[in-house]
């Protein structure tokens, strides 16, 4: 593959949320170290399709280009992944690039993923500090506790876990693995657990944690290797206990 002089990509495009999608193919000069983002940048520099038709630069979300901002999630050869870390050398050609299918398309590869941020509000994914004035140091934590919290806190909100989840769809309204894993993170924190009950109740009912079908796709596609299924299992247990408590309180 590295010997190829050119790279073939095909991009599923869509002018706006209402219009129909269509495919365009591009043949680009290969350079070693090229990733999907640099291929899209090359198209912007010379927006001409493989057949010589003039077209427009492709709209896509990106920012940090080092897989930490979570912007450039898309389907690449059918797999949910980040475009910045998708090296052309490792991809079969033509490289098929598509927007996520479970989020509304804005334009081309851009989709609206604001649902995750709404879900984070719903589960109160924060530590309720009293204020920003000087109140001394935070709670002591053992290195073991830090080592458990840190991986969960590395979620980049890319929504790969939701795109890959068979249960994440309009019918279920499932909240998705990312938000559930944040519940685990904040319920573990010495101050954050003050809101534990509220978080768990937010995961009951429509679209709650019970929608999970244990397909385990989330943990497979997570670019940050977050132990999402462990989070779901643990939070699922917490929700059960909470539901039980609530039942007897009524």
């Amino acid at each position: 593959m590295a010997d190829n002089k050119t790279v073939l990509i095909k991009v599923k495009r869509q002018k706006d949320p209402k219009s129909a999608p269509y495919w365009e193919e591009f043949e680009l000069q290969f350079r070693s170290g090229m990733n999907v983002i640099s291929a899209l940048m090359d198209v912007a520099l010379n927006p001409v399709t493989r057949t010589g038709q003039a077209t427009t630069a492709i709209a896509y979300d990106s920012n940090c280009l080092e897989e930490v901002c979570g912007s450039c999630a898309m389907l690449i050869n059918g797999r949910t992944r980040m475009a910045c870390s998708a090296l052309i050398d490792n991809l079969e050609q033509p490289v098929a690039i598509e927007p996520f299918t479970k989020f509304p398309v804005i334009r081309d590869l851009q989709v609206d993923r604001s649902v995750l941020f709404e879900n984070l509000k719903r589960v109160k994914a924060w530590v309720p500090v009293d204020g920003t004035y000087d109140l001394g140091s935070g709670p002591r934590l053992s290195p073991q506790e830090q080592e458990e919290a840190y991986p969960l806190s590395r979620c980049i909100s890319c929504c790969c876990c939701m795109e890959a989840c068979p249960q994440f769809n309009e019918n279920t309204g499932f909240v998705g693995a990312a938000a559930i894993s944040q519940v685990r993170l904040f319920n573990t924190h010495p101050t954050g657990k003050a809101l534990k009950t509220e978080r768990l109740r937010a995961l009951m009912g429509d679209g709650g944690i019970h929608e999970c079908g244990y397909a385990q796709n989330c943990v497979e596609v997570c670019p940050k290797d977050i132990p999402l299924t462990t989070s779901i299992a643990e939070v699922g247990g917490q929700v059960m206990v909470q539901a039980f408590k609530d039942l007897f309180r009524k």
Partner: protein
């Protein structure tokens, strides 16, 4: 007088979010604007840590020592009182972040762990693995989301700042912004505005910065009359991974944890690096700077690497690269303290840095210069504040590693309350300002949009940008010559001319990303002239600004802040110089090579 003033914050990185939290806490109403969802801001890229002299390692560290290291590292160009304020506040900021749940690494006793960074001899850097910026941003993002759910903050994500709305007295009364999806241009009145729009790495084509770091907002404000200070001070990070689309940062913390920089002594040595014996390796930083070793400040390390590569011709395999070696460090330690950055190297290069020395080279990383602000973070435009990398105040001629996160948060914490106080002290509220002021600004921006979208030229904006990046990287980074700087400005004038003939292949008015980029490009070009001309005027070497023809620091003539302002008629920058406040630490020679 507004009891609950409306404050617009532009930018949702650390500085912007810090400002939002303070304003909301004081009862202000915030409209927060960001190009990307704030959780995706460039602050996520900060890796190594955040400085605060907590002195938890029994080393006798103090906030004064932090202050001295920062001023000395910045080659005495920073006004000292605000720097002292920042260093004094830093331990409290760490405590607050700790309370907000940032998963900082811990000692066995459960206290915060600290590591060493460049330009200091103390273990002063708190860290959360090697993704500290991400963790801090998330903590502030979560607090802002909490305020958002309480109705105290409104977020305008996927909106681009276009300009400030200034009344007839040049007082800032709000902003003009564009929805990046509908392309609608709108004005937003505010009692005060805080700009926290980060760096300008995109001017250099490839840098360690994120795509949104164009400096476009700062440039727009400079063109509206704001001073831009010390623009010529650009930090080139010694250790970045060269890439096709960007230069990826390899954190200074790699050296803080014991990483060593070296090249084979024999030019063009083709052996596997692991098979090269110790006596055939040149650890040039350790040899040249025995006291600080691999942890000299970034400008010093970068120039050393340039010297080794270009003067000694000892780049790896003749290429412009040197080794950054972690292979002698225990894998478990590496995983616990540096995993985030090792993962980046593994994913983007394909080698495991636990087994193989990394190949790195300096890359444009940070701007010390930015919007001029006073000690209250206010620009010379009343009602317009700035915080974070977009302003110039804390780092002088060179920023020390792990000082950016603390300056962002401190700047945000200063600007928020000061903006609220300012708004509360105003006799005339923004509500009383004539709507014609807002309409005029909106019209001005819409006319520019119309002009751009219908322009009949033949220039591709992305091509102009590539040429901009190439000339700026070549002549305005590590080594600067006046002849080249003059040529650069000539090239910038040419690019601005060609911009007039720019042609957009995409003329649609829905989520038109190349149109948005082209708007930013214009502002990048204007700001580039401030950088190039500022560098030309400063005939000395200080911090990151190095001229071989003027190799020494010249306090007599240049212990001064460069202040650029825009001359609209001439369509170019003018300059004046302001004395630096060195009232606390008298300037002394900056010599990291000295043995004591």
């Amino acid at each position: 007088m507004a009891i609950n003033p409306k404050i617009v914050v532009v930018g949702g990185g650390l500085a912007g979010l810090a400002a939002v939290i303070k304003v909301a806490e004081m009862g202000g109403q915030v409209d927060l604007f960001s190009i990307v969802p704030v959780k995706r801001s460039h602050s996520v890229c900060a890796q190594g840590g955040i400085n605060a002299a907590k002195n938890l390692k029994g080393e006798g560290d103090s906030t004064w020592q932090h202050f001295d290291d920062t001023v000395y590292g910045g080659d005495f160009l920073a006004n000292q009182p605000p720097v002292k304020g920042m260093c004094d506040a830093a331990p409290g900021i760490i405590d607050l972040l700790d309370r907000m749940g940032v998963p900082f690494n811990r000692t066995a006793e459960g206290l915060l762990d600290f590591r060493r960074f460049g330009g200091t001899l103390f273990n002063r850097t708190a860290f959360a693995g090697a993704t500290t910026g991400q963790q801090l941003l998330y903590a502030l993002d979560e607090q802002v989301r909490r305020y958002e759910s309480e109705g105290k903050v409104r977020k305008f994500e996927h909106w681009e700042f276009l300009s400030a709305v200034l009344d007839g007295n040049q007082v800032c009364r709000g902003i003009c912004a564009m929805d990046l999806r509908t392309m609608e241009v709108r004005t937003f009145p505010a009692d005060a505005v805080i700009i926290a729009t980060g760096g300008n790495g995109m001017i250099f084509g490839k840098s360690t910065n994120s795509v949104v770091c164009t400096g476009s907002a700062q440039s727009a404000l400079y063109q509206q009359g704001a001073f831009y200070a010390n623009g010529e001070f650009i930090q080139v990070h010694p250790t970045a991974i060269p890439g096709e689309d960007k230069l990826r940062l390899m954190s200074e913390s790699a050296r803080g944890e014991g990483g060593r920089v070296w090249v084979p002594k024999q030019p063009g040595d083709k052996r596997d690096p692991q098979s090269i014996p110790a006596n055939e390796r040149w650890y040039f930083l350790e040899e040249w700077y025995p006291k600080y070793g691999n942890l000299v400040p970034r400008d010093v390390a970068t120039r050393a690497i340039f010297k080794v590569v270009y003067e000694h011709n000892l780049g790896i395999d003749g290429q412009p690269m040197v080794y950054l070696d972690l292979t002698h460090i225990d894998r478990k330690v590496l995983d616990r303290k540096l995993e985030g950055i090792l993962e980046i190297y593994e994913k983007f290069v394909g080698d495991d840095p636990r087994d193989v020395p990394m190949k790195i080279f300096p890359g444009m990383h940070y701007t010390m210069g930015g919007l001029w602000v006073d000690f209250n973070q206010q620009t010379n435009i009343k009602g317009l504040y700035a915080a974070g990398e977009c302003e110039y105040q804390y780092h002088g001629a060179n920023r020390l590693g792990a000082n950016s996160l603390v300056s962002c948060i401190y700047g945000g914490f200063m600007s928020g309350p000061n903006a609220v106080k300012y708004a509360r002290s105003q006799q005339t509220s923004t509500d009383d300002v004539s709507s014609s002021v807002f309409e005029a600004e909106q019209r001005r921006q819409e006319e520019f949009n119309d002009l751009l979208i219908n322009n009949p030229g033949n220039e591709n904006p992305f091509q102009i940008w590539r040429e901009l990046g190439a000339v700026m990287t070549k002549n305005c980074t590590v080594i600067r010559y006046n002849k080249n700087l003059q040529e650069t400005d000539g090239k910038l004038v040419e690019l601005l001319q060609r911009f007039r003939n720019v042609n957009l292949s995409d003329k649609s008015m829905w989520a038109n990303t190349s149109f948005v980029f082209t708007r930013q490009l214009y502002n990048m070009l204007q700001l580039s002239r401030v950088i190039a001309q500022g560098a030309y005027l400063r005939n000395e070497s200080r911090g990151a600004h190095y001229k071989p023809d003027f190799p020494d620091r010249d306090d007599q003539n240049f212990l001064k802040t460069t202040k650029a302002y825009f001359a609209p008629d001439a369509d170019e920058p003018r300059f004046e110089f302001e004395p630096v406040d060195t009232s606390l630490i008298p300037p002394r020679p900056r010599r990291y090579d000295a043995a004591t």
